[in-house]
C-alpha cells in the first residue's frame, strides 16, 4: 500500500487559508476597503470622502471677472467649474494659513494674492486650447472672493474682495 503524505502542501495551504478568511468573515472585503480608503485618503481611486465632514459659521465662494471686473461664465468658456477653482484656491489657503499661523478667515487679500495668481494661472494653463483665444480677448482675469458668515443668526454675504489679477495673454517667460 503506497504511503501518502497527508501534510497539506504549504503552497496550496495559502489559498485555502484566504478562502477560510472569506468564509468566516464574509464582509472581509468591506472591512479591507474601509481601512484602505481611510488610510490612503485622497489617492485615486481611494478616498476618505471628506466632503462636508465639518461645518463652521464661515465659508466663501469665488468667481472670475474680466479686465473690467465683469463676471465671466467660467464653465461656459472652459468647461472648468467654479467649484474646482474654489477647491484649488481653498487648498492653497489651507497651506497659507498654516504658514502664517492665521485662521483662513483672518487672511487679508494681500496675504492671498500669490495663491490667487497661482489659481488664475492654473485656470488659464489648463483651459482647452480652443478656449484660449476667448480668454486672451478678456484682457485680464481677476479672482474675487465673497465670504459668507453667520451674524446675529442670519446668513450674511460680505462685500466681494479682489484677490488677484492676471494680465492676458500672459507675457512669455523672460530669457536669461
Amino acid at each position: 500500500m503506497p504511503a501518502y503524505n497527508l501534510e497539506p502542501n504549504p503552497v496550496t495551504r495559502l489559498p485555502s487559508s484566504i478562502k477560510s478568511v472569506f468564509g468566516r468573515f464574509p464582509l472581509a472585503a468591506l472591512l479591507a476597503l474601509v481601512v484602505l480608503c481611510l488610510a490612503l485618503k485622497e489617492n485615486y481611486p481611494f478616498s476618505h470622502f471628506p466632503m462636508y465632514s465639518s461645518f463652521t459659521d464661515f465659508t466663501f465662494y469665488v468667481y472670475l471677472t474680466d479686465a473690467e471686473g465683469d463676471p465671466i461664465p467660467t464653465e461656459t468658456i472652459t468647461y472648468i467649474r467654479t467649484g474646482k477653482i474654489k477647491k484649488i484656491f481653498d487648498s492653497e489657503l489651507k497651506t497659507l494659513s498654516k504658514d502664517l499661523d492665521k485662521r483662513k478667515r483672518e487672511l487679508t487679500p494681500a496675504d492671498k494674492e500669490d495663491a490667487g495668481l497661482l489659481v488664475l494661472r492654473w485656470y488659464y494653463n489648463n483651459a482647452p486650447s480652443a478656449s484660449r483665444p476667448r480668454l486672451d480677448a478678456l484682457g485680464a482675469l481677476e479672482l474675487h472672493q465673497v465670504d459668507i458668515v453667520v451674524a446675529d443668526g442670519e446668513i450674511v454675504e460680505k462685500p466681494s474682495q479682489r484677490i488677484a489679477r492676471l494680465e492676458l495673454p500672459p507675457s512669455p517667460p523672460q530669457e536669461g
Binding site: C37, Y52, F55, Y61, P73, T82, I85, W122
Partner: protein
C-alpha cells in the same frame, strides 16, 4: 432563507448584466481628451508617474482602444485576471491626473474602486487555480463569479461607511450633528458658485423631488433642529450602509434608500453623484433579479 451577510446565489444572467452595465459606466467615465497639462498636487498613480502626457492631442486614442477590448473581455467573463488590471490601470491613470490639480472631485472613484476590488479577487482566483494545477471545476468558477459580485456590492457600500466615518473622525458624532446648523451656508455657497459657472439663473427644479424641494430649502434655513435631524438621518444612513448586505431584500430596499438620499442631495445642493446612483442600481437594486424572480424556482 439564506444566512445574513453571505454571498447571494447570483444567477449567471444577473452577473452578466452587472458586468455589462459596469462596463458601460466605465466607458462613460473614460474621457475622450484631457486638458490638464500639469499635476501640481499628485494623487494616486501621479505620485509615481508624470501622467501629463495623457493631455497630448490624440494621447488617449490607444488607451481607449485597449479599454474597449478589455471591457469586451470583462463583459464576456473570460480572462478577467487580464481584463481587470488593464481597466484598472487605464481608469486609475486618467482619474489620478484629473484629481492631481489640487481640487479633488469624488464623482468617479466608486466605479474604479469596484474594479480594483474585483481585480484583486480575480487575480487571487487565478493564482489559486494555477496552484491547483488543474482547471477549476465549473461550480468553482460560478462561485468565484458570485463572490466577485458580492465583493462589488461590498465596495459600493464601503464608500458610504467611509464617508460617515470621516465625518465622525473629523468632527465627532455629536459635534457634526451640532454643527449641522451651519449647513445652510453651504446651500448659499453652492447656489452662488453654480450661478458663476454660466451666469444664468438655475432652471426651476424638475424630477420626482420638485414638489418637495421648496419645502426642504425653507426647512433648512428656518429650523436648525430639523436641519440637524435631517442631516443626522443621512449620516446614520451612510454609517449603517453595511446593512444593505444582509440579503437580497436588504440589497433592494437599502439601495433604493441610498438612491433617494442622492436624489435629495442632488436637488438641494446641486451635487450630482450620478455614477454612485448607477452602481447602487446595478449592484443593490439589481432589477433583473426581481423581474426574473416570479419565474425562478430560487427565491431570496
Amino acid at each position: 432563507m439564506a444566512k445574513p451577510f453571505t454571498t447571494p446565489s447570483f444567477q449567471r444572467f444577473e452577473m452578466f448584466i452587472m458586468r455589462v452595465l459596469l462596463a458601460l459606466v466605465i466607458w462613460d467615465i473614460f474621457p475622450g481628451a484631457i486638458s490638464f497639462r500639469e499635476q501640481p498636487a499628485p494623487s494616486g498613480l501621479a505620485h509615481f508617474l508624470d501622467l501629463t502626457f495623457l493631455s497630448e492631442p490624440g494621447a488617449l486614442r490607444l488607451p481607449r482602444i485597449l479599454l474597449f477590448l478589455a471591457l469586451a473581455l470583462y463583459c464576456s467573463g473570460c480572462l478577467l485576471w487580464i481584463a481587470l488590471p488593464v481597466i484598472l490601470i487605464l481608469t486609475a491613470a486618467v482619474g489620478s491626473l484629473a484629481n492631481s490639480q489640487g481640487a479633488i472631485t469624488h464623482s468617479t472613484q466608486l466605479p474604479v474602486l469596484v474594479i480594483f476590488a474585483q481585480c484583486v479577487w480575480y487575480l487571487y482566483d487565478a493564482l489559486r487555480n494555477r496552484l491547483r494545477k488543474s482547471p477549476a471545476p465549473q461550480d468553482a468558477r460560478l462561485q468565484a463569479n458570485r463572490t466577485a459580485a458580492f465583493i462589488a456590492q461590498q465596495a459600493v457600500v464601503s464608500a458610504y461607511v467611509v464617508t460617515a466615518l470621516s465625518k465622525i473622525f473629523t468632527s465627532g458624532l455629536v459635534g457634526w450633528i451640532s454643527d449641522a446648523r451651519y449647513f445652510p451656508l453651504q446651500l448659499v455657497k453652492t447656489a452662488r458658485m453654480d450661478y458663476y459657472n454660466t451666469l444664468t439663473l438655475p432652471d426651476p427644479p424638475d424630477g420626482v423631488l420638485a414638489p418637495v424641494l421648496p419645502f426642504l430649502q425653507a426647512l433648512f434655513t428656518s429650523s436648525t433642529a430639523l436641519t440637524r435631524l435631517f442631516l443626522a438621518s443621512g449620516l446614520f444612513l451612510e454609517l449603517c450602509a453595511f446593512l444593505a448586505l444582509i440579503g437580497r431584500r436588504w440589497n433592494f430596499f437599502y439601495g433604493a434608500l441610498l438612491i433617494v438620499f442622492h436624489l435629495t442631495v442632488s436637488a438641494v445642493m446641486d451635487l450630482h453623484f450620478q455614477y454612485n446612483i448607477y452602481l447602487l442600481a446595478i449592484f443593490l437594486l439589481n432589477i433583473p433579479y426581481w423581474i426574473s424572480r416570479p419565474f425562478s424556482s430560487q427565491k431570496a
